[in-house]
Symmetry: C2
Subunit: 148 residues, 2 copies
DNA sequence: TATTGTTATACTCTATAACTATA
DNA sequence: TATAGTTATAGAGTATAACAATA
């Protein structure tokens, strides 16, 4: 039997734990957490800079710099939009896709391990409640498919 | 009825959400997230630099710099240890205690709001499972009381 | 005028490596 | 020698403000 923490300590510590695992896996791919997040966001479809601003919740100048650094590593490229000559689209390169897939799969594996010891029913209920919270709060799809 | 995400997307997005709220509240107190975390960790008792290294999972030089910046704002002070003349103890000032209390209470309030719309039973089960995970994984007590 | 994006600047955060002082 | 902590350095991340180009 476990003593329950309060809601706030439980959430803050869980967030700290997940972030730690995320960063640990990032390091294995020579990525920083923001870089990995960017790659995950453009995984399914190319995105414009303004769109990335919303998804990552960063200022546009921050996105510019972040895209610069990942581009310099050859993991993504900027594409000019034919329709709007101001606009830029960001898409992963072949190397970027490989890295993203490896990273994504390993994160998934590591997080499954985190709940592996729980009874299946408890695990499912927990995941469902967490899903409810993030869907209710309109958290951007920074990991996993955009829609259900 | 909500469609459930997978375990990994649910956890990653929940962590992103909690971090966003954490940072938002930090901004209201003119703190960065690492600074607030430091203040929360020394809230209940003074800590040595090496101890902070373990609690915050940072290198000692990172802790030095972080303590420098919070000290410069007058929110904590370094105290010499009488027993070991190499050792330093970090404790909040009166101003630091006030800021920490305000920050802590607001984070708590904001996170309670996050689960306020859930049925009480679901909320309790969710909190218990989250507690189990973080206690099993020996997450450092970066928020809330150290022990149960 | 509004929008898209970049650049300049400044500060925080973090790690690695080298260092000082004490145990 | 080992431990506690700081300093030097370098790079990533971020925001604000000013800017250029296009719509």
């Amino acid at each position: 039997m476990t003593e329950s923490l309060g809601v706030a300590p439980a959430l803050v510590r869980l967030s700290f734990l997940v972030s730690s695992i995320y960063s640990e896996v990032c390091a294995g791919y020579d990525l920083t957490a923001p870089q990995a997040q960017l790659l995950c966001v453009i995984r399914d479809q190319p995105r414009g800079m303004t769109e990335l601003t919303d998804l990552l919740r960063l200022e546009k100048s921050s996105v510019s710099g972040l895209v610069d650094r990942v581009e310099r590593r050859g993991l993504l490229r900027r594409q000019m939009s034919p329709a709007d000559r101001r606009a830029v689209t960001v898409a992963p390169t072949a190397a970027g896709k490989r890295v993203t897939r490896g990273f994504y799969d390993e994160i998934t594996r590591r997080l499954h391990l985190l709940v592996a010891d729980l009874p299946a029913a408890e695990r499912d209920v927990f995941t469902l409640t967490a899903s409810r919270i993030v869907l209710d709060e309109a958290v951007p799809p920074i990991f996993g498919a955009a829609a259900a």
